[in-house]
Amino acid sequence: MQNKLRIERAILRLTQEELAGRIGVSRQTINAMEANKYVPSTALALKLARVFGKPVEQLFELEEGD
């Protein structure tokens, strides 16, 4: 699964630490998601969507094989 978290975070000018604080996770989790090493749960994806003010489908995209 691909995501646009890094881009959306840059648009809002948030650091990983700040984004982590807003959704209540560790900074490692933000970094792992941005590096496509971790696919978040639905609850976490919805929290991210709320912070960025966009639907989940605009943040995450299925790849072939998903």
Binding site: T15, Q16, A20, G24, V25, S26, R27, Q28, T29, I30, N31, A32, M33, E34, A35, Y38, P40, S41, A43, L44
Partner: protein
């Protein structure tokens, strides 16, 4: 989602101190670098009391390895199963993957030991085998956790 059945984060440091102290003292006594007094001489064994290994003042008593084993298990469980400061679903996943990894590594090592070691040396293998799953899990979990923290620190 958070991993259930974890101890509060404050127990983690205490767990590490207990586990490392017990491991070091246990190995030092096992290989006879030190010899401490019988610290558990006061504690009888409900089963096998007549087979206790040492004699003090004409009475069969426990060896210190019982104490080190108990302290190590308590400490290692606290160190391994206490929440991280920011315990979340990603760390929960690392925790569960490390548990699976430790199981595979333990079974692999045990298979090798059965094939390569026989006789009395296998007794030493059994001694290590009692504590290996916890140790393997602890080491793997910490290595991956530190790796991901380092990766996050270098990301910005």
């Amino acid at each position: 989602m958070q991993t259930r059945y974890l101890f509060p984060h404050r127990f983690k440091r205490l767990g590490w101190v207990l586990a490392v102290a017990a491991l070091v003292l246990g190995l030092l006594e096992m290989y006879e670098f030190i010899r401490l007094p019988h610290l558990l001489a006061w504690l009888p064994s409900p089963i096998g009391n007549t087979d206790l290994p040492d004699v003090v003042a004409g009475r069969m008593v426990r060896d210190n390895h019982d104490l080190y084993a108990v302290v190590f298990i308590v400490g290692a469980v606290l160190a391994a199963c206490s929440r991280e400061q920011h315990e979340d679903e990603y760390i929960g996943q690392i925790r569960l993957e490390s548990l699976l990894w430790a199981l595979y590594a333990y079974c692999g090592l045990l298979l090798l030991a059965f094939l390569l070691v026989s006789g009395m040396p296998f007794f030493t293998v059994m001694t290590y085998a009692m504590f290996a799953p916890l140790l393997l899990f602890l080491v793997r979990f910490q290595v991956v956790l530190r790796g991901s923290a380092k990766a996050a620190a270098h990301a910005e």
